[in-house]
Amino acid sequence: MLESNPYIANKLRHTGVLVLGCSAGGFKMLLTMLKALPANLPVGVLVVIHRNANYETHLEANLAAKCRIVVKVAEDKEPIRPATAYFAPAGYHLLVEPDRSLSLDTSEPVHFCRPSIDVTMQSAADVYGASTVAILLSGANQDGAEGMESVRKVDGLCIVQHPRDAEVETMPAAAIRKGAVDLTLTNGELIILSQGLSNHIFRN
């Protein structure tokens, strides 16, 4: 599927960071993908999901036990390490510094969202450029579409969940409409991609 397209295969080979965004209806698929990611994943994963800041969840802790990669809430100024998924905390945007550490930010919500998928994708694209791989799943608003556009602008790789497979298609469909998508994958393909990601990525 992915190997057959030399452009995509080459993009995946040079992955520097993976950015995953989802909202309404995308949660289950996100967990499935995170669980599928291999322990030897050579890159870090930034995860942005929309959730309410006033309700404490133990999502990351619960997930950590079920994943082969490390799962945690992103901390301000911590370096991005391989085989680690950093969740944007509720109520904060998650940004990437030029030295590839993380920053939190409480500035205005974007599209009513904080964390915003757009913000993290744009910031990752600023730092990782063409080695940014962005994946957008199910969601009920437009967040993520502009972020994918920024990733595309720097020649990163943009993947969306097939709107047909998404519980709520608004978010992936918005990105597709913007022409900001390289690949539209079914749930099955997304899982295969996650499982095999380490094999796709070139390590030196």
Binding site: E75, D76, K77, L95, E97, S103, D105, S107, V127
Partner: protein, 270 residues
């Protein structure tokens, strides 16, 4: 419009040279978004921004308002305020006078939140709260004690979650589309400029809140600012950082006791 990290360094040098204002310790990722936003708001390009900063009197103050994040809320993180009341207020109650510093207070919502809770616990009459920020423009708004009535809905919900048992509307008067904080709550408050980067200790406090400020600084500047906050605290005084801000792991950590790990409340013990 988007600026590059290279543009940003150029801008930092220019602002320092022309206005003597040091942005070099600010987190670049956030600063980049702010500067890009300024270009969009003013519909100028990067060259235009530099030109305005050098040649337009008064523009720098507008720039300063937009370049820093002034987003704030009354009772943001309600459980923090609940913990403050339950764990810290009984301790503060033993002091004859209580001095509080809200560092990086923006438009003052946190200062008024503190004033309300101190008043509720009978501490306010012997408390003085200093609210400081680098922006004179946002401080002018803070001084007015006028809050957009539309926002009061969210703030009221936050306040309910502090389990204070009454309604936020007890503490303000609604007029047209504004909420005005009651006068007696504004008596013991002083808003004033203070720059955490370049200014020093100006008083000794029993409580300092500096929440969601450190995240805009580089790790080096965070260290420097935490040292300033430490030096500004009375022995056994309390330091409250943001929900996602912890004390940097260096020599200072053993001089504080952790009061709440969840809410990043620390007590100076040495």
């Amino acid at each position: 419009m988007v600026v590059s990290f290279g543009n940003l360094e150029e801008l930092i040098t220019l602002v320092n040279n022309v206005h003597g204002f040091d942005l070099s310790g600010y987190s670049r990722a956030s600063l980049k978004r702010r500067v890009s936003r300024i270009l969009t708001i003013y519909q100028i390009d990067f060259a235009g921004l530099k030109d305005s900063l050098v040649n337009s009197p008064g523009f720098f103050n507008e720039f300063l308002v937009e370049v820093t994040v002034n987003v704030t809320e009354m009772f943001r993180d309600p459980t923090f305020y609940k913990t403050l009341r339950e764990e810290i207020h009984p301790y503060l109650a033993t002091f004859p006078h209580i001095k509080v510093w809200s560092a990086g207070c923006a438009t003052g919502e946190e200062v008024y939140s503190l004033a309300i809770l101190f008043s509720k616990d009978g501490l306010y009459t012997r408390t003085f709260i200093y609210g400081t920020d680098i922006n004179t423009a946002v401080l002018e708004r803070a001084k007015q004690g006028i809050i957009d009535l539309k926002k009061m809905k969210v703030y009221s919900d936050n306040y309910l979650q502090t389990d204070s048992g009454d309604s936020l509307s007890e503490y303000y008067t609604a007029m047209y589309d504004s909420a005005i904080v009651h006068h007696e709550l504004r008596k013991n408050i002083l808003f004033s400029t203070h720059n955490l980067v370049s200014d020093g200790v100006f008083n000794e406090f029993q409580l300092i809140t500096c929440r969601n400020v450190l995240i805009y600084f580089t790790a080096d500047l965070q260290h420097k600012v935490v040292n300033l906050l430490y030096a500004s605290l009375a022995l056994f005084g309390f330091l409250c950082l943001g929900a996602r801000e912890t004390l940097p792991a260096d020599g200072l950590r053993h001089k504080f006791r952790v009061i709440s790990k969840t809410h990043n409340i620390y007590q100076k013990i040495a």
